[in-house]
C-alpha cells in the first residue's frame, strides 16, 4: 500500500494552521485596537509634569512673585520593605508614634468611597500601590538632612515641586494664594489632578488659566512592579510642559510696601490708580498678612485658621469688597451732576444754615469751589434737592422719583452701584439707590427728597467700595472718563485684557470738571480748606487736588476718608485713603495720601515728621 498521498494531508494541515495564525495576527495587530489599549493600560504610565506658574513683575520690572523649588517625601506602600520605624523616625527627627500616626492620617485624608460591586460598602480611596506624600513641601535644608538616608528605606523617595515665593512681604490681597484643588474642581476642569494647586484669591485666582501654563505629559514604560523604566517609544509622544507667561502688573511694589507700612496699626485701605491708564498702583488693605505665610499646604494648614479667625479680617480684601458710605467725597459727584443738569452754576451760593443738616463752623460758601473747600453740608443739601426736585411733576413724590432715577443714571456712569469688570475676584457693587429701592422701603410715591436727604452728603443708603472712590478721583483727574481699574498691565507679549482698553465716559461734560478741580485745590491749598495736611512738603511744586470725608459711623468713631489726585495739571496718580475710626478725614487720611503721592512721584519722602506721625498712629481699639 502506498501512503505517499498522506503527505498532502500533512502539508494542508501545516499550511492551514499557518494561514489561520497569520489572519489572526492580522486582526490582533492591525485591525483590532483594543489590544493596544490594553497594553497601554498594562505597561504605560502617563506622568504629568506640572510647570512652574508664570512669574509676576511690578510696573518697574521688579520680580514680585516667583517660584521656588520644594521637596515632597513620597512613598509607595507596596514598595516599603521592613521599615525600621525607629530609625526612620530618627532621620526625620520625629517620634516613632508620630510616624505611625502619619501613615494612618494619610489613609484618612484620602477619604472613602462606596463600592458598587460590593453592596455599597465603604472602602478607602487609599491604594497601597500609589504614591503619596509622607511629608509635603520641605525646603532644601529640610530635605538635605533626610535625602542621604533614603536609600536605607526602600519605598520612600523625594519629589520636586514648585511653589510661590514672594520678594516682598506685601500685596497679599492683590496676589492671593494657592492651595490644593478639591474634588469638585477636579471634576469641573480636567486639567487638574489630585494634589495640584489652584489660585484661591486675587490675581492667582482671576488669571488661573493663564498663570498655570500648560502641563506636559510623559509616557513612561513601567514594570509589573510599577517601576519607571524608560520613556515610551523614546518619548516621541511626550509633550513639554510650558510655564505660564510672565505677568507685568501696574502695581508699584515699593509704593505698595510703603502704603502697607503707613496703614500699620490701622484698619482701612489705600487705593492708588494711574488715571490715564486705569492701572492700579497700590491696593493696600489693612491689616494684611505676609503672602509667604500662605505658601504651601503645610503653611496654609498652620496659618489659615489664625488669619480667618482674626477679628480684623486680614484675608478680607477691603478695597474691593468693603462697602462704606463715601461721606463728603460724594459731594464732588453731586456738584458735577448739578452743573450738568444746570440746576446750579459754579457761582451759585447757598447759606450754611444748619437747620436741616449739621455742619462745622465756617463761613457760608458763596460759590461751588468754596463749598467744596469747606465741605459744607447745607450747601449740598440744597444742591441735591435741586437735582432731585426739578419741579417736572406737580406731585413732589413723582418729581422726586424722576429726579432720583436721573441721578441714579449719572451715578452709574461713574462706575458706582455696579461691580467693575476688573481683574480681581470678590468685588462688591456698592449701592446707589434708585426709585425701586426706596419704593420697597417706603412704598410707591411715599417718599421725596426730604425722606432721603442723607444721600446728598454721601451718607444713608449710599455705599461705595474704596476702589470706586479712587476711581472717582480718576474720573475727575481725567475730566470725565476712566478705564476700568485693573492690576495686570501685560500678559507675556500681549497687553492687558481688551476690557481694560475701553474708555468709559461719565455723563458730565468735560468743562464742568474745572470748577470741581479748582475746589479740590482749594481744599488743600486755601486757608479754611479741610485738607491742608495733604500738602506735600508744604510746597506747591506738586499740586494735590483732594477732598476730605468723614463718614458717620453709628457703631463708633467716624471713618476718615480722603480722595485726591496729583499733580493738578497732569495727573499721574489718583488715590483714596480710607481709615476706619480715625475721625475727621483731614487729620489722618489726607496726610497719608500726601505721603503716598510724594513716595510715588519723587520716590522718597522728605517730610519725616509727617511720616513718623502717620506710622505711629493706631486706630484699632
Amino acid at each position: 500500500m502506498n501512503f505517499d498521498a498522506r503527505k498532502y494531508v500533512i502539508i494542508v494541515f501545516i499550511i492551514t494552521v499557518g494561514l489561520i495564525y497569520i489572519v489572526r495576527l492580522f486582526f490582533m495587530q492591525v485591525i483590532d485596537d483594543s489590544w493596544t489599549l490594553r497594553a497601554q493600560e498594562i505597561a504605560e504610565k502617563r506622568k504629568q509634569i506640572v510647570p512652574p506658574r508664570g512669574a509676576i513683575f511690578d510696573r518697574k520690572g521688579v520680580k514680585v512673585v516667583s517660584n521656588r523649588t520644594y521637596y515632597n517625601l513620597m512613598f509607595i506602600e507596596d514598595e516599603i520593605k521592613h521599615l525600621d520605624t525607629a530609625a526612620f523616625a530618627k532621620v526625620l527627627g520625629w517620634t516613632k508614634d508620630s510616624v505611625a500616626l502619619r501613615f494612618k492620617e494619610i489613609v484618612k485624608e484620602q477619604g472613602t468611597y462606596r463600592d458598587k460591586n460590593d453592596n455599597y460598602k465603604k472602602k478607602p480611596n487609599y491604594q497601597s500601590d500609589r504614591p503619596y506624600a509622607f511629608i509635603k513641601e520641605m525646603t532644601l535644608e529640610e530635605i538635605a538632612t533626610i535625602a542621604p538616608h533614603l536609600d536605607k528605606f526602600p519605598g520612600f523617595y523625594e519629589e520636586i515641586t514648585s511653589m510661590r515665593s514672594y520678594t516682598y512681604p506685601n500685596g497679599a490681597n492683590i496676589f492671593g494664594y494657592l492651595s490644593e484643588v478639591n474634588e469638585e474642581e477636579i471634576k469641573e476642569d480636567h486639567f487638574y489632578r489630585r494634589s495640584d494647586n489652584i489660585g484661591r484669591a486675587g490675581i492667582e485666582r482671576f488669571y488661573e488659566k493663564e498663570l498655570r501654563g500648560q502641563k506636559g505629559i510623559r509616557y513612561i514604560v513601567t514594570s509589573a512592579r510599577n517601576n519607571e523604566l524608560k520613556p515610551y517609544m523614546d518619548g516621541i509622544y511626550d509633550t513639554i510642559a510650558k510655564q505660564g507667561p510672565n505677568f507685568k502688573l501696574g502695581i508699584d511694589i515699593l509704593l505698595q510696601e510703603y502704603g502697607e507700612r503707613l496703614m500699620n496699626g490701622k484698619r482701612g485701605c489705600i487705593v492708588a490708580i494711574e488715571p490715564s491708564t486705569g492701572e492700579i498702583l497700590a491696593l493696600v488693605s489693612s491689616p494684611t498678612y505676609d503672602p509667604n505665610l500662605m505658601v504651601g499646604n503645610r503653611n496654609i494648614a498652620k496659618n489659615y485658621p489664625k488669619l480667618i479667625l482674626d477679628k480684623d479680617m486680614p484675608l478680607f480684601p477691603r478695597p474691593l469688597a468693603a462697602e462704606y458710605p463715601p461721606g463728603s467725597i460724594f459731594k464732588l459727584l453731586q456738584s458735577l451732576i448739578a452743573l450738568q443738569e444746570g440746576v446750579i452754576t459754579p457761582e451759585s451760593g447757598f447759606p450754611c444754615n444748619k437747620g436741616m443738616v449739621g455742619c462745622h463752623n465756617h463761613a457760608s460758601a458763596g460759590n461751588l469751589m468754596d463749598a467744596i473747600k469747606f465741605s459744607c453740608n447745607p450747601y449740598y443739601y440744597a444742591v441735591t434737592r435741586r437735582i432731585l426736585q426739578q419741579g417736572k411733576k406737580k406731585s413732589v413724590f413723582a418729581d422726586a422719583e424722576i429726579g432720583l432715577n436721573k441721578w441714579h443714571k449719572y451715578m452709574m456712569s461713574f462706575g458706582l452701584g455696579q461691580k467693575f469688570d476688573a481683574d480681581a475676584t470678590g468685588l462688591r457693587p456698592g449701592l446707589i439707590p434708585n426709585s425701586a429701592y426706596y419704593d420697597k422701603w417706603y412704598g410707591h410715591l411715599r417718599w421725596a427728597f426730604s425722606t432721603i436727604r442723607s444721600i446728598s452728603i454721601g451718607q444713608g443708603e449710599v455705599k461705595l467700595t474704596p476702589l470706586q472712590m479712587a476711581n472717582i478721583a480718576c474720573i475727575i483727574a481725567n475730566k470725565g472718563w476712566y478705564y476700568t481699574p485693573h492690576f495686570v498691565k501685560s500678559i507675556g507679549n500681549k497687553g492687558s485684557l481688551p476690557q481694560f482698553r475701553v474708555k468709559h465716559r461719565s455723563m458730565i461734560d468735560a468743562k464742568h470738571y474745572d470748577p470741581i478741580i479748582e475746589g479740590m485745590r482749594r481744599v488743600v491749598y486755601v486757608s479754611g480748606g479741610t485738607g491742608g495736611r495733604a500738602k506735600i512738603n508744604n510746597e506747591e511744586k506738586i499740586v494735590v487736588c483732594g477732598k476730605t470725608g468723614t463718614v458717620q459711623n453709628p457703631q463708633g468713631e467716624d471713618h476718615a476718608v480722603f480722595t485726591c489726585f496729583a499733580p493738578m495739571d497732569k495727573p499721574k496718580i489718583a488715590i483714596v485713603v480710607f481709615i476706619e475710626n480715625a475721625g475727621f478725614g483731614g487729620t489722618w487720611a489726607a496726610p497719608t495720601a500726601s505721603l503716598m503721592i510724594e513716595k510715588y512721584l519723587t520716590r522718597k519722602v522728605k517730610d519725616k515728621e509727617k511720616e513718623k506721625r502717620i506710622l505711629e498712629a493706631s486706630f484699632k481699639n
Binding site: 494531508v9 494552521v17 495564525y21 495587530q29 483594543s34 497594553a39 498594562i42
Partner: protein
C-alpha cells in the same frame, strides 16, 4: 564518509540558511528582551544573552560533530540513544523540583532538560523501528510497538510534570500516520467483534489522527470566536456576530483551499477534490454549529470553566493573566511594530509578560516588529516545514524519511502551541519556540534534530535501502 567527498557536498543550503536566519533573529530577540542597559555587551556572560551565545556556540559545535560523524551511527545506535534518554528522564525525577517540576538535571553550573533530548531519541528509535517493518506488516502488533516507543517517554515526562513536552510527543502520531501506522487495526478489531461485520479497513480509523486534530482545533477556534462580535475600525456600522464569522471564515478557507488544490491537482483528481471539500465544509460547519449550540446550552459554571480555559474571561490571578498580557503585547505591535528594543510590555525588565525570553519570546518579537515581522516569521517557519517535508519525500531510506517527518512535526507542534498561546488559540503550556527561546537544552536539542537531518540528507545517496 567516502573518500574525496567534501563535508558540505549534498548539503541542503536553503534549510541551513533558514536555520541560521532563525538563530540570528532569535539571538536578536533574546538580546532585546533581556537587555540590561548597564551591560550592553552581547558577550557579557552575566546576562542571559551572553549565556545564550554560549549555548549557541555549543549547539553549533555539536552540529559540527554531527557532520564529522558518519550518519549510519544514528540507525545503528538508535536503541542505546533512546534508552539513555529514558534513563535521564528517570534520573531527573529524583532531582529537586524547580518551579514545581522535576525537569532539570544540574551539571556543573548549567541545567539541562532531558525531555528536550528525549524527542531526538524517540524520533531515531521510531525511525529505526518503522524502517525495519515491512510495508505490509501494518498489523496490531506494529501499531502497539510504535505507540509504546512514543508513550514510554511521554509517561515519564508527565511525571515531571511537563504538559508542554507531553503534548509535543503526540506529533509522532502524524509521523506514524504518514507511514501508514494508524489506529485502524485497533478500530477494526473492535468493529469486527460485532457479529456479521467484516471490514478490511475503516476510513475513520485510518484518518483518525488528522481528523481528531482538525476537530479539536475547530472546536477551540469556534468557542473563541463565537463569544465576541467582530467589528472593524474602518467600517463602524459593520458588526459581525462571532459565530457567523466562524462560518464565514470556513467558507473563505474552503474557497481558498479549493482554488489552491485545483491549481496543483491533475484534471482527474478535480472532481474528487471538489467532493472532499464540500464534505469537509459541511462537516466542519455542522461541528462548529453543534459546538456553539452545546456551549450556549451549558450551565453557567461549566461555561465559566471553559471560558477561563480559553482565556475569554479576566482572571488576573490565574494562568489567563499571563496570556492576556501576552496577547496585549502581541496586539500592541500594530502593523510595523514599536521598533527594536522598544517593547514596553514584554521585556524581562518590565516583566508584565513573565517568561518573555523563553516561552513567551514571540511577544517581544511581535511587539517590536509588528504584523510585518510576525508575517515574515510565520512565513519562514512555513517555508522551513515545507522544505523539510520536501527533503523527507526525496529520501530513499525510510529511516531518513520517518526521522525527517519527526523533525518537521516536532517543530510544527512547537510553533503551533507556542504562538497559539500568544494569540489566544492555545492554553498556556510552556514550550519553547524553536531556535528563538532562551535556553540551552531547547537550543541544543533543536540544533541536533536539525543537523542530524541535514547530515542524513547529505548522505541520502549512500543509503541503498
Amino acid at each position: 564518509m567516502r573518500q574525496g567527498e567534501k563535508l558540505t557536498s549534498h548539503l541542503d543550503w536553503p534549510l541551513l540558511i533558514t536555520y541560521f536566519l532563525f538563530l540570528i533573529m532569535g539571538m536578536a530577540t533574546v538580546y532585546s528582551t533581556a537587555l540590561d542597559p548597564d551591560h550592553p555587551n552581547l558577550f557579557d556572560y552575566s546576562q542571559k544573552y551572553g549565556k545564550q551565545v554560549v549555548w549557541l556556540g555549543i549547539s553549533l559545535f555539536l552540529g559540527l560533530l554531527v557532520f564529522l560523524i558518519d550518519s549510519t551511527i544514528y540507525r545503528k545506535f538508535a536503541v542505546p540513544i533512546y534508552i539513555s534518554t529514558l534513563v535521564l528522564l528517570v534520573v531527573v525525577l529524583f532531582m529537586p523540583p524547580i518551579n514545581g517540576a522535576r525537569a532539570w538535571l544540574q551539571i556543573g553550573g548549567f541545567g539541562i532538560q532531558p525531555a528536550e533530548f528525549a524527542k531526538t531519541g524517540t524520533a531515531l528509535l521510531l525511525a529505526r523501528y518503522i524502517s525495519s517493518l515491512n510495508i505490509k506488516q501494518q498489523n496490531l502488533n506494529s501499531v502497539l510497538v510504535a505507540n509504546a516507543i512514543m508513550i514510554v517517554p511521554m509517561i515519564l515526562i508527565l511525571l515531571q510534570p511537563d504538559a508542554g513536552t507531553f503534548v509535543v510527543f503526540t506529533s509522532f502520531l502524524f509521523v506514524m500516520y504518514r507511514e501508514g501506522l494508524t489506529y485502524d487495526p485497533l478500530v477494526l478489531k473492535l468493529v469486527n467483534t460485532i457479529p456479521g461485520v467484516k471490514f478490511k479497513q475503516t476510513w475513520v480509523g485510518t484518518h483518525f489522527i488528522p481528523i481528531m486534530f482538525a476537530i479539536v482545533f475547530l472546536c477551540i477556534v469556534t468557542l473563541l470566536l463565537s463569544n465576541n462580535t467582530i467589528t472593524f475600525s474602518f467600517l463602524p456600522g459593520l458588526i459581525i456576530p462571532g459565530f457567523f464569522g466562524v462560518i464565514l471564515s470556513l467558507i473563505v478557507f474552503c474557497l481558498i483551499a479549493f482554488l489552491f488544490l485545483r491549481f496543483i491537482s491533475t484534471k482527474r483528481e478535480r472532481r474528487r477534490i471538489t467532493t472532499v471539500i464540500i464534505i469537509a465544509f459541511v462537516l466542519s460547519a455542522s461541528i462548529a454549529s453543534s459546538v456553539n449550540y452545546l456551549f450556549q446550552g451549558l450551565r453557567k459554571h461549566q461555561k465559566d470553566r471553559i471560558e477561563l480555559f480559553l482565556g475569554l474571561r479576566e482572571d488576573p490571578n490565574g494562568e489567563d493573566y499571563n496570556r492576556n498580557r501576552a496577547m496585549a503585547a502581541v496586539g500592541s505591535g500594530g502593523l510595523a511594530g514599536k521598533g527594536y528594543t522598544n517593547a514596553s510590555v514584554a521585556t524581562i525588565e518590565s516583566n508584565h509578560v513573565p517568561e518573555s525570553e523563553t516561552d513567551f519570546i514571540f511577544c517581544p518579537f511581535a511587539e517590536e516588529w509588528g504584523f510585518i515581522g510576525t508575517f515574515i516569521l510565520i512565513g519562514m517557519y512555513m517555508f522551513m516545514f515545507l522544505r523539510i517535508i520536501m527533503i523527507a519525500e526525496r529520501q530513499r531510506s525510510r529511516f531518513n524519511r520517518v526521522y525527517a517527518y519527526s523533525v518537521v512535526m516536532i517543530l510544527f507542534y512547537h510553533l503551533a502551541v507556542n504562538i497559539g498561546m500568544n494569540i489566544g488559540f492555545a492554553p498556556v503550556i510552556g514550550i519553547p519556540l524553536p531556535f528563538f527561546s532562551y535556553g540551552g537544552s531547547s537550543m541544543m536539542s533543536f540544533s541536533m534534530l536539525m543537523f542530524i537531518l541535514l547530515k542524513l540528507d547529505s548522505q541520502r545517496s549512500h543509503v541503498l535501502q
